[in-house]
């Protein structure tokens, strides 16, 4: 028994004042990851996020399945946002396979995508609430989320993992009378989430706790490559639905919510405003959608790409820009599928945001980054 360490490992010398905390993977405040936090008293001196506990090899799996059978497993990284996580793959596959999408299907996709964004943000908001010790803000979003989940169930037949988008459109047409039900539920949902301001977003204790904590400046937000609500909370007007419109987003009037503060409060408020904006988009899409028509272009069995070809598509998901790079070599299976996920990019900012913060701010700053551990690990 020697005391020599294997090459590559080294014992770190730390001050006696400094305590190392392993926040996660078995910790109510971490999710499927570990944050190694070093604290001096109540102050965090260093923070090392350690993702990778739920790596499932989705990208490698995609190389052994054809373009259609890839759909159900590729939405697994974020099952709460399953339509959006599938969206770039479907758009890319359509371009590779050369498929035209019917007009009605594009609108249905937009509606499904926006509903799913709300479902994801509600789940995120519930956890943000309980991370701050606000148990009502855990229960309310978790309950109101059911409204939209029921709607998605009517639309796709599944509550969470929809597998609704397919190359060439969507799997099923809308059920009869869906437009009226959808409009009614979305209106009620919007009214309901606006009530959250009174109990949560305008709560003086919440504002005192989250304002000026974990401030991410505009330059840093761009430099770290953060996306989505994190980037927009730092004052960058960047929304792919507006900057690079896909499907029919260019025909809809979209307002981008931007806040300049870049603190934890702004990062938590932007997704909530996004939900209200999503309701507006759904109402517009319901109005402009063709009332009848096909929603899916029939595919040949085992569709193949046209020789060596590659495509990169990205969409605005609930967490930010989500990209999918597909390489085809003319076989029924894609040669390579690479997901470029927003969660991992937002996580990069975490060590810099937490350095010098108090331990009590760790959950709120960490979760305000709109990070989903499973998506980062893929």
């Amino acid at each position: 028994m020697t005391n020599e360490l294997p090459p590559g490992l080294a014992l770190q010398k730390v001050d006696e004042r400094i305590m190392t905390l392993n926040v996660g993977p078995q910790h109510p405040g971490s999710g499927h990851m570990r944050i190694i936090v070093q604290i001096d008293g109540d102050y965090i001196v260093a923070c090392d996020p350690d993702p990778g506990y739920v790596h499932r090899g989705e990208e490698k799996m995609a190389e052994y399945r054809n373009y259609i059978t890839n759909i159900p497993h590729l939405e697994r990284p974020v099952i709460h946002d399953s339509c959006n996580v599938l969206y770039p793959y479907v758009l890319g596959a359509e371009e590779l396979l050369g498929i035209e999408v019917p007009e009605r299907a594009k609108y249905v996709r937009v509606i499904a995508s926006e509903l799913n964004r709300c479902i994801y943000i509600m789940y995120w908001l519930a956890i943000y609430g309980i991370f701050l010790g606000h148990s009502t803000m855990f229960m309310w979003p978790a309950g109101d989320r059911e409204l939209l989940i029921d709607l998605m169930e009517k639309m796709t037949g599944a509550r969470v993992t929809h597998a609704h988008f397919v190359p060439g459109g969507v799997r099923n047409d809308l059920p009869p009378n869906f437009e009226d039900v959808c409009l009614r539920q979305v209106n009620y949902f919007e009214k309901r989430i606006k009530e959250y301001a009174a109990v949560f977003y305008d709560n003086p204790i919440l504002i005192a706790r989250t304002q000026d904590t974990g401030v991410l400046s505009r330059q840093d937000a761009i430099r770290y490559g953060t996306t989505g609500s994190v980037l927009r909370a730092s004052g960058v007007d960047y929304d792919l639905r507006k900057k690079e419109p896909y499907d029919v987003y260019d025909e809809l009037d979209i307002h981008t919510n931007v806040m300049k503060e870049g603190d934890s409060y702004a990062r938590s408020r932007i997704p909530w405003l996004d939900m209200i904006e999503s309701c507006n988009i759904i109402r517009q899409a319901l109005q402009k959608m063709p009332k009848s028509g096909s929603v899916r272009t029939k595919l040949k069995p085992n569709p193949k790409g046209k020789g060596l070809d590659s495509v990169y598509k990205r969409v605005e998901s609930g967490r930010g820009s989500l990209g999918c790079y597909i390489v085809s070599d003319g076989k029924p299976e894609p040669y390579r599928v690479k997901l470029s996920v927003p969660s991992f990019r937002n996580l990069i900012a975490l060590p810099n945001l937490l350095r010098g913060e108090k331990l009590g701010n760790m959950p709120s700053v960490y979760w305000s980054l709109n990070y989903w551990p499973v998506e980062a690990d893929r």
Binding site: H134, T136, L359
Partner: protein, 432 residues
């Protein structure tokens, strides 16, 4: 042949049962009966209404319940009844259990869910019992590096401290476990024990998260003890007494909250902090430090700490009622005891009674206890309410609040009390 117990045989089972019964009977005969005889020999049996109490006499009471009333009344005058049952532990534990249930139901209604529902026929009324059974039946896991004797003792000490706190609260005139001249000082002394017990439990677990939680609890309790004590000084000045029963009796015409609202508010906020309730539940902040100083406690150790926490909640609410809301004082709503019961009731050909021991409780005591319980329940309601509305605050905000704002307000309260005292409006020789 059963699949669950393939070797089971009824005859052998009955045989084993008979074997056990034999040993039980043997033990009772050899040890139990002599023990009972020795007790009867040593203890002087009470004389009730001129009759010496014998086991035979006790059996005759089953036939005539009116004869047992004096015994019950004599028992209720003893200290053990006060400690175990009415103003003491049993009563407090009952209110604590009710508080847990009401809290869960209330939070559920606030958060658009049903709460405990399936355990028990009516609205999950037996949920608490189920939880208690679960906690009792769970294995207690002690961390390998824990300082075992202290770790074991801490939950018990916590409940004991909370029960000691309960002992100071006067529920009705004359109904208090410990009627001490310096009662309020005693209360402060007992409150001072909570941080010690907490840090003992947290430190002895030898684990990081309990340690941080314990340090936070220490910070919180110590820094809020000062405004807590200062906020009560106004009442002490005006009453001129530290005896809690006298303080309660002094508010027969008006409660002190009318004249000292600032003191009441400061006391209420510090009370929330001392109780570690939201928004001051930093020592148990689960998203930061798992469950704070409770992290390593398992099974009934956790259950004991929970019991102690809710006993403490009741005691604090009772203290608030006694100091600011007038204690047992209130309009007389309990009807007087029906006089005809004392002489005997004629029911057709038979006359029932008279019942010599009645009434068990006098009218004033029942009325006082009723008002005290009503006020305490109202205070507990307001203690529970912030949990549904507020998030948790941070340790620096907490210390800032305790050391600057609350202490300042407590001094303002003291000056108001002084002004009232010197103006001769209130206090000893004043309005009352």
């Amino acid at each position: 042949m059963s699949a669950i117990a393939p070797n089971f045989k009824l005859s052998e089972f009955i045989k084993s049962l008979l074997d056990n019964i034999f040993w039980v009977v043997l033990l009772v005969v050899l040890i139990g009966l002599p023990a009972i005889m020795m007790i009867l020999f040593v203890i002087e049996m009470p004389v009730i209404n001129g009759d010496l109490l014998t086991p035979f006499l006790a059996l005759t009471w089953l036939a005539d319940p009116s004869r047992i009333l004096p015994v019950v009344k004599a028992f209720m005058a003893t200290d053990i009844f006060k400690v175990m049952a009415f103003p003491g532990f049993g009563f407090a534990a009952l209110i604590a259990a009710g508080t847990i249930f009401v809290e869960r139901k209330m939070m559920a209604k606030l958060q658009l869910r049903v709460g405990p529902f399936y355990c028990g026929k009516v609205e999950g009324i037996l949920q608490l019992m189920g939880d208690g059974l679960k906690l009792i039946s769970k294995e207690i896991i002690i961390p390998a590096k824990a300082d075992k004797p202290i770790f074991w003792a801490a939950p018990v000490l916590f409940v004991a401290t909370a029960a000691a706190f309960v002992a100071f609260i006067p529920v009705a005139p004359g109904w208090v476990v410990a009627d001490v001249e310096l009662g309020l000082l005693g209360v402060f002394a007992v409150i001072g024990f909570f941080p010690i017990v907490t840090i003992l439990s947290a430190w002895s677990a030898n684990s990081k998260f309990p340690f941080i939680g314990g340090i936070r609890a220490l910070f919180q309790m110590v820094s809020f003890e000062i405004p807590l004590i200062l906020s009560l000084l106004g009442v002490v000045m005006l009453t001129g007494s530290l005896n809690l029963s006298e303080i309660a009796a002094s508010q027969s015409s008006f409660p002190w909250i009318v004249f000292l609202p600032i003191g009441a508010i400061v006391f209420f906020i510090t009370m929330l902090a001392e109780l570690e309730r939201i928004p001051f539940d930093l020592p148990e902040a689960e998203s930061e430090i798992v469950a704070g100083w409770l992290t390593e406690l398992s099974g009934m150790m956790y259950g004991l700490v929970q019991l102690g926490t809710y006993l403490k909640l009741y005691a604090f609410a009772g203290l608030f009622v006694v100091l600011f809301l007038g204690g047992w004082n209130g309009p007389m709503v309990v009807p007087p005891f029906p006089a005809e019961l004392l002489e005997g009731v004629e029911m057709g050909p038979v006359t029932v009674g008279p019942f010599p021991g009645l009434p068990l409780f006098d009218q004033e005591m029942l009325n006082g206890a009723l008002w005290f319980v009503l006020k305490t329940v109202a205070v507990i309601f307001f203690i529970i309410l912030p949990r549904g509305v507020f998030p948790r605050i941070r340790v620096d905000m907490l210390l800032n609040l305790g050391w600057t704002k609350l202490i300042g307000l407590a001094f303002v309260n003291i000056f108001i009390a002084l002004g009232l005292l010197y103006a001769g409006v209130l206090g000893p020789g004043g309005l009352q």
